[in-house]
Amino acid sequence: MNDLDLLTAITVFVLSVLVGVEVISKVPATLHTPLMSGSNSVHGIVVIGAMLIAAESHTWLGYVLAFVAMVFGGMNVVGGYAVTDRMLEMFRARPPETPKNEKAEV
């Protein structure tokens, strides 16, 4: 990897922080728990790293490390998205079964 690539990587790093701050600041406090579990699943992208090391492994130690990383990463991705979806499904504008509902909003 040459210097330009490193510079690109650092540029991506810095810009990602700025984009993150900008986007996340707009999330209302009401949704902070789903935000956290949702961003948790985003860092599940680490599973891609786990796949890449599994592909390069050729020793037993390497296989074991790759296996554990795959288990961790897989759990992170699937569990994270599933539980976030389960939570967000509960956030409704009005109760599920309402016979008469005339509440003032905002």
């Binding site: 990897m1 680490v46 796949m51 992170n76 956030f91 599920p96």
Partner: protein, 472 residues
């Protein structure tokens, strides 16, 4: 880069776009679920593209495939099971565990990279520095998050665990980090440096979280979330994958923002919390007035409160963690629905730290079928208190104490809910016990405040029955 590798990296770029747009859609409950689905879709495409890349490169062994597929399936099954079965009150523990596995996986990637390098000694600082940081941050997050989850679950004592020499250890360990990191960066082929650094980092995660009290967990979880993101970004530097850098830093900024919000809402600095020894969560003896005599409070009965509620135009509920601890959120939701159907304007004032993680109380209320239009944030609801006929406080304490507006006490300057500005206040509470701050709550001795001394779950059920008689 060849064509396939190029194509795969364009897919990763699309995935990053999905992540950002997905997080952007989280800015409203109406669109949030779609945002999560978009983010998940991006992830699925990235994983598929990686499989393609691995096949194309062709260097993977049969055992490698076995490891990749079986590990992924086992992890996915565990994650899915946990996600389906977890109770909403246990959400902070689960998020902590996901922080742990994310950080752990990131650390393993760096460990593996340094072990597998054909000529590790020749690795430049370009790989060994992010590698060392990845191991340090990832391992600290892994053990620290597991301890945090243990504390939340009650497996590990929720009280700050302080042992002799703990402070000294917490100074020595970071010092050995710096030494270990420098050593590993200079000699990336040294196994002693690699294993030593990993061990020290794991140990530090434990000693960092153990002395932190249960009440400070919202901050700790958010902080560990930020750590995990950074560890994943470092793994991205090690592997030259910008997708990991982008995703990691998005998470890291999210964790950072939440950490700051939580610390501000608790009137503490992050450093102060991590240094620890506060927030034991133990109640103190009964309230006393300024002169030491028992403070005057006005006890009320279920019927008194029910009349007030039934004839109110606007009611604000103020739930705190005590509500969730008593598992009474469904009773509160039922009472609110009864009032709403009767034409009363009902809303919930949710303080940022009401719960065991950021936003926790909202999830608990949403589960009890409370519509999100009734969930109000602190800044949104505070101007509404003067119009409220009744403010009903259940399980919240320090965050309602008007003493915070004055200087010179434990909670001075803490942002609070302006409950005392309501026309009438009712507090459901078992006793006059103190909150985490350990000081008297001046709201309780306010002449407009009625104290309904009972257990939250039973009290709310009684209220619902009594209100039902008035409006039914």
């Amino acid at each position: 880069m060849d064509t396939v590798s190029n194509a795969v990296h364009y897919v990763f770029l699309a995935t990053a776009v999905c992540f950002v747009l997905g997080l952007h859609l989280m800015n409203h409950p109406r669109t949030a679920r779609r945002g999560n689905a978009l983010s998940a879709g991006g992830m699925a495409v990235a994983i598929a593209a990686t499989v393609w890349l691995v096949i194309h490169e062709g260097s993977i062994t049969t055992t490698g495939w076995l490891v990749l597929v079986s590990g992924g399936l086992v992890g996915a099954a565990l994650g899915l099971y946990a996600a389906r079965e977890v109770k909403m009150t246990a959400m902070p523990q689960l998020v902590s565990v996901f922080n742990a596995v994310g950080g752990g996986a990131a650390a393993l990637i760096a460990v593996n990279d340094l072990l597998q390098a054909d000529d590790a000694a020749a690795l430049g600082a370009r790989v060994s520095l992010p590698g060392a940081l990845d191991i340090v941050i990832g391992a600290v997050t892994f053990s620290g998050s597991l301890i945090a989850a243990g504390k939340l679950q009650g497996v590990v004592s929720g009280a700050p665990v302080v042992f002799p020499g703990a402070r000294l250890l917490n100074v020595l360990l970071p010092a050995s980090f710096v030494a270990g990191t420098v050593w590993l960066v200079l000699s990336p082929d040294s196994r002693t440096a690699l294993y030593g650094l990993t061990a020290v980092a794991l140990l530090f995660g434990v000693t960092m979280v153990l002395p932190i009290g249960g009440a400070d967990m919202p901050v700790v979880i958010a902080l560990l979330n930020a750590f995990t993101g950074s560890a994943v970004a470092m793994a991205g530097f090690v592997l030259d994958e910008t997708a990991l850098i982008i995703a990691g830093m998005l998470v890291s900024s999210s964790g950072g923002i939440l950490t700051k919000l939580m610390a501000d809402a608790m009137n503490r600095s992050v450093l102060n919390i991590v240094v620890g020894g506060f927030g034991t969560g133990d109640g103190a003896p009964a309230a006393t007035g300024a002169d030491g005599a028992p403070a005057q409070v006005r006890p009320v009965s279920a019927d008194d409160v029910a009349i007030q509620l039934a004839y109110a135009g606007k009611v604000v509920f103020v739930p705190g963690y005590g509500l969730a601890a008593a598992q009474a959120q469904h009773e509160l939701g039922d009472l609110a629905k009864l009032l709403t159907d009767h034409g009363v304007d009902v809303s919930y004032a949710v303080h940022p730290v009401a719960g065991r993680m950021p936003g926790h109380m909202n999830v608990l209320l949403a589960e009890a079928n409370v519509p999100y239009t009734q969930l109000k944030e602190m800044d949104e609801v505070n101007p509404e208190f003067p119009q409220a006929d009744v403010a009903l406080v259940v399980g919240a304490n320090d965050v309602t104490n008007p003493a915070a507006r004055r200087p010179g006490n434990a909670i001075s300057g803490m942002p609070i809910l302006d409950v005392d500005k309501a026309k009438s206040v009712v507090v459901i509470k078992r006793s006059m016990g103190h909150g985490y701050a350990g000081i008297d709550n001046e709201l309780y001795t306010n002449p407009r405040t009625g104290m309904f001394f009972t257990d939250a779950k039973r009290g709310l059920a009684e209220l619902k029955a009594a209100v039902g008689e008035f409006v039914g």
